[in-house]
């Protein structure tokens, strides 16, 4: 069997490209062939993806379309006679980008607009979360294939040093790193004077990173650290050094960093949006109040209460088991097998 993966864009660090690489590894184990192509390829990606024009499926092959952004060039793929499977990774609503990055906003707006058309023209439609699938009227889910091997074994002891909040995710408006900066300011002024924040992620644009740096420098000089372009080993070190993982994103299709934090044993506080409630299950504290003071108090409880931390760690490990490689691989195979 041959499965060709089709992406709108391939990058060195993004979740969709990583997922396609992981899928290709599985396909290899199953003895399946095929190639991975993308309409746009970041020069840093190397040769793991070929240009879309190189797509040359044989009759009977399957095309797995990873949908995560507006992709007019993929329209031609829909015309092909081969069996098409659409896997939606979700597209962020444009309202988060109009004021900051119009090109991304346009891509998001058009991406969300054309997604139902793509879904209607594929034989099988699924999402990486039930939230994503439901947007397309489907109940088929293939969660993200989570491989914690690169992060090492779960940590066995609490990190030393001052309380360190961690968030891992693209530096973009809907991820609300601005809220996290204000959160650490509130914590420092209200009972946790040595609280620190580490923000890991690639910036949407270099100027956005500078804006966030300016905000951090103005409100909490020296308390916020930005880290970009980390290797897996460096990312693992950040998780090991974290007292809490705090995510205040306003939109998440899945949120892999939750599973990474659970794996390492970092208690998680997250805003319940999009796919995060189904990924976190009962293993996180949900920051459902828009009031940052309540979130700050949740952080204080999770920092101070050892019983609470232990329960969250235990439940987090169970969530990682829920998304174990074997069952997810079986779901993927069931989706692609005729």
């Amino acid at each position: 069997m041959n499965v060709h993966q089709v992406l709108s864009g391939a990058g060195p660090h993004d979740a969709v490209s990583n997922q396609a690489r992981a899928f290709r590894g599985l396909f290899g184990q199953w003895g399946w062939g095929g190639q991975d192509v993308a309409a746009g390829i970041d020069p840093r990606v190397g040769r793991s993806f070929a240009p879309l024009a190189a797509l040359a499926p044989a009759p009977g092959d399957t095309l797995l379309i990873h949908y995560s952004a507006y992709a007019p060039k993929l329209r031609g793929v829909l015309e092909r006679p081969e069996r098409k499977v659409l896997l939606s990774h979700n597209v962020t609503p444009a309202r988060w980008f109009w004021d900051y990055e119009p090109r991304i906003a346009i891509q998001c707006a058009l991406g969300r607009q054309q997604l139902p058309e793509y879904a209607a023209r594929c034989e099988v439609v699924a999402g990486v979360s039930a939230f994503n699938a439901a947007e397309l009227g489907s109940d088929r889910v293939v969660p993200i294939l989570f491989d914690p091997a690169g992060l090492g074994a779960p940590r066995t002891q609490e990190p030393a040093g001052p309380p360190n909040l961690l968030f891992v995710g693209r530096l973009a408006p809907h991820k609300r790193q601005d809220e996290l900066i204000r959160l650490v300011v509130l914590l420092r002024a209200n009972g946790v004077p040595d609280a620190r924040l580490t923000l890991v992620g690639e910036p949407m644009k270099p100027w956005y990173l500078e804006e966030l740096r300016r905000l951090a420098g103005m409100l909490a000089p020296g308390a916020v650290t930005f880290k970009t372009g980390l290797t897996t080993a460096e990312l693992a070190a950040e998780y090991r050094a974290a007292s809490l993982f705090v995510g205040l994103s306003e939109h998440e299709g899945f949120c892999i960093p939750l599973l990474e934090a659970f794996h390492v044993g970092v208690p998680v506080i997250v805003r319940p949006v999009g796919g995060t409630p189904e990924v976190a299950g009962d293993a996180a504290l949900f920051a459902s109040d828009p009031d940052l003071a309540v979130t700050a108090e949740l952080c204080r409880l999770a920092l101070e209460d050892t019983e609470l931390r232990a329960t969250l760690r235990e439940r987090g490990a169970a969530r990682v088991a829920h998304f174990a490689h074997g069952p997810v691989a079986a779901q993927l195979r069931a989706l692609l097998d005729r």
Binding site: R95, L215, A293, L298, L301
Partner: protein, 121 residues
């Protein structure tokens, strides 16, 4: 404490801290989603003023490429200026039409409402 009890406890503690003068807003810029784009904002966006410094290379060690690309944009500035002027002219006139239509619609709606009031009387 069980995780299920944490949110209620956090709300109590936040309310108590607020009552004691804690949790003052730290300020700074706040990200706001833009649900509806108003005409004033469209007018601002309609004027194209590209910034040459945003042209850059995403390649590792791409500084020399960035330099070349920025010089290229610079030497083509007259041509780009013509294009952006044409596009800005179109954008502005289109927006003026939209604004005039909005005004007319508002007047028509006001007249309709006045007629309804008269009819009800």
């Amino acid at each position: 404490m069980r995780p299920e009890e944490a949110l209620a406890r956090a709300r109590e503690r936040a309310a108590a801290a607020r009552a004691a003068g804690g949790y003052e807003d730290p300020g700074g810029f706040t990200i706001e989603p833009r649900e509806r784009i108003g005409t004033d904002q469209l007018m601002e966006w309609a004027v194209l003023e590209p910034d040459e410094s945003i042209m850059h290379s995403t390649r590792r060690f791409g500084a020399p490429i960035t330099w070349i690309k920025q010089r290229l944009v610079h030497v083509l500035r007259q041509y780009h200026g013509e294009l952006t002027a044409d596009q800005t002219r179109f954008n502005m006139h289109l927006l003026i039409h939209v604004a005039e239509l909005e005004d007319r619609l508002a007047r028509v709606e006001a007249e309709r409402d006045a007629l309804r009031v008269d009819a009800d009387a």
